[in-house]
Amino acid sequence: MSSPATSPPALSISGLTKRYADGTLALEDLDLEIPAGSFFGLLGPNGAGKTTLIGAVCNLIRLSGGEIQIFGRPGTGMAARRMIGIAEQEPNLDKFLTVYETLLYHGGYYGMDRSEASERAEQMIDAFDLRAKRDVEAPKLSGGMRRRLLLARALLHRPRLVILDEPTAGVDLELRHELWRYIRALHEQGTTILLTTHYLEEAEALCDEIALISGGRIVARDSAEGLKRTYGVDTLEEVYLRTVAGGRIALDVMEEVE
């Protein structure tokens, strides 16, 4: 594998546009480049276009225009898809499969042979503390267990680019910190991470770089410190409110609350 310095960007998006059948323009001529090896945060309010952007990268929506490349490979190609692992926001687990089978079959879909997929499934079961639930079907798992399984599935085939769409939404504090630790370690091993979250402190703690998305466009992008400096504010929350949540009006409201 080439080093981050010489590697093409993990994700390169140019002119990405998505208009849904009902006429909603979810993404408008969006350009974004995420360097290989980075830990990148994508923040924005509900309906800003985060999930649509992720869907476009993962072949889950039909593009209206634009181009996507993954590590220099066309985003629609098989090689590019092999390099991506996604944990979606909603637990979308196959109800006919147990925890072990969910991981085993996922490995198979991504081209692993049985022994390799099985060995890797067992590793992920241990890594995500799912051993006691190994032979339990997905619908019988608790919310936290489902979240663990989603992450384990996303990472099973050892992708170079991992996309985590609000991975800690609705999980307890203990699990959230446990997941943070694992994701940090994953990043240290060379995996590029694209994280969307509504928890600003999570983005600030984890991400090297943050982009703010609003109305289907990237409106600001820098490190957390750089963003604060640019907008002359003390917290990422203030940057968020100024850029994507109604500008001065929202800031005024926040000052009143304080």
């Binding site: 889950l60 092999r82 979308n92 079959y105 590793q123 050892r158």
Partner: protein
């Protein structure tokens, strides 16, 4: 446990298809009471009630005892409905619960996903067909005259109804939609396609109208395979069924290739 570093390997060209096929067959076998036992029992009941109980009071049809005459059509009906309902429900469920995303984002081409989803319905339909034939032939004394023609008609039936199930599963907005197609379209057309009677016995214009029913040719192709005789030429039956199957497979393939209704 510390995570392992990412790996950069080219995806295997057909392993994804093999695993999706396996997943679809796994689902069929896991739900075997519903997917296999129930349709076998209901088809056997038809054979017992119409063939063995009432058969003696009905004169021969086209030179065959009635109990023998109805066997190919009943097997065709069970196999067609199984291939259809399996694929429509598995696709609809995967769409509805969004676990289809794990397939759509995987490094598999459209034709591989299409073929993988066809496999479950094909396996279920074949198991039901083989079990019914194994039970019905000795009981009724029905022959197996044209095995090659039967094999071809079975393949076309499975492909056609499997593809129809996929198409309906992709377009369906609710569980009601797919059962509606089965109960209001497939079942009546099969019944009116000569499962229980020879359409040659119908007067004009019903005989001619029956020839417009595509399911009539499915029943006739299967009947020729088992009995070696049918109301129309086997070439005509296989030709019509083949043309319909190719059209349905092409439609399903276009849906997978474009993502129409599978992806927003």
């Amino acid at each position: 446990m510390n995570p392992l570093p990412p790996v950069d390997v080219e995806p295997h060209p057909w392993r994804g298809l093999a695993w999706l096929t396996r997943r679809e067959c796994h689902r069929v076998l896991k739900l075997w009471k519903q997917t296999i036992l129930a349709p076998v029992i209901s088809s056997l009941l038809f054979m017992v009630v119409f063939g063995l109980s009432l058969g003696d009071s009905i004169a021969e049809v086209n030179g065959f005892e009635y109990r023998v005459f109805i066997v190919p059509g009943l097997i065709a009906m069970a196999m067609a409905q199984s291939a259809y309902s399996n694929n429509s429900s598995t696709i609809f469920q995967a769409r509805n619960d969004r676990y289809l995303d794990d397939i759509l984002s995987a490094p598999m081409s459209a034709w591989q996903v299409h073929l993988g989803y066809l496999a479950g319905g094909a396996m279920r339909s074949l198991i039901i067909g083989v079990v019914l034939a194994a039970l019905a032939l000795p009981i009724t004394g029905a022959p197996l005259e044209q095995p090659l023609a039967l094999l071809l008609s079975v393949l076309l039936l499975i492909g056609g109804f499997g593809a129809l199930g996929i198409i309906v599963g992709i377009y369906a907005q609710s569980w009601d939609n797919q059962s509606f197609i089965n109960n209001i379209v497939i079942l009546p057309l099969i019944f009116l396609g000569g499962v229980f009677y020879s359409v040659n016995r119908l007067g004009s214009p019903w005989e001619q109208i029956s020839h417009l029913n595509p399911l009539f040719y499915v029943v006739e192709a299967m009947r020729y395979g088992f009995l070696g005789a049918a109301d129309v030429s086997p070439w005509l039956s296989l030709g019509v069924v083949g043309a319909i199957t190719i059209a349905l497979l092409a439609w399903a393939q276009i849906l997978f290739a474009t993502g129409h209704r599978l992806k927003p």
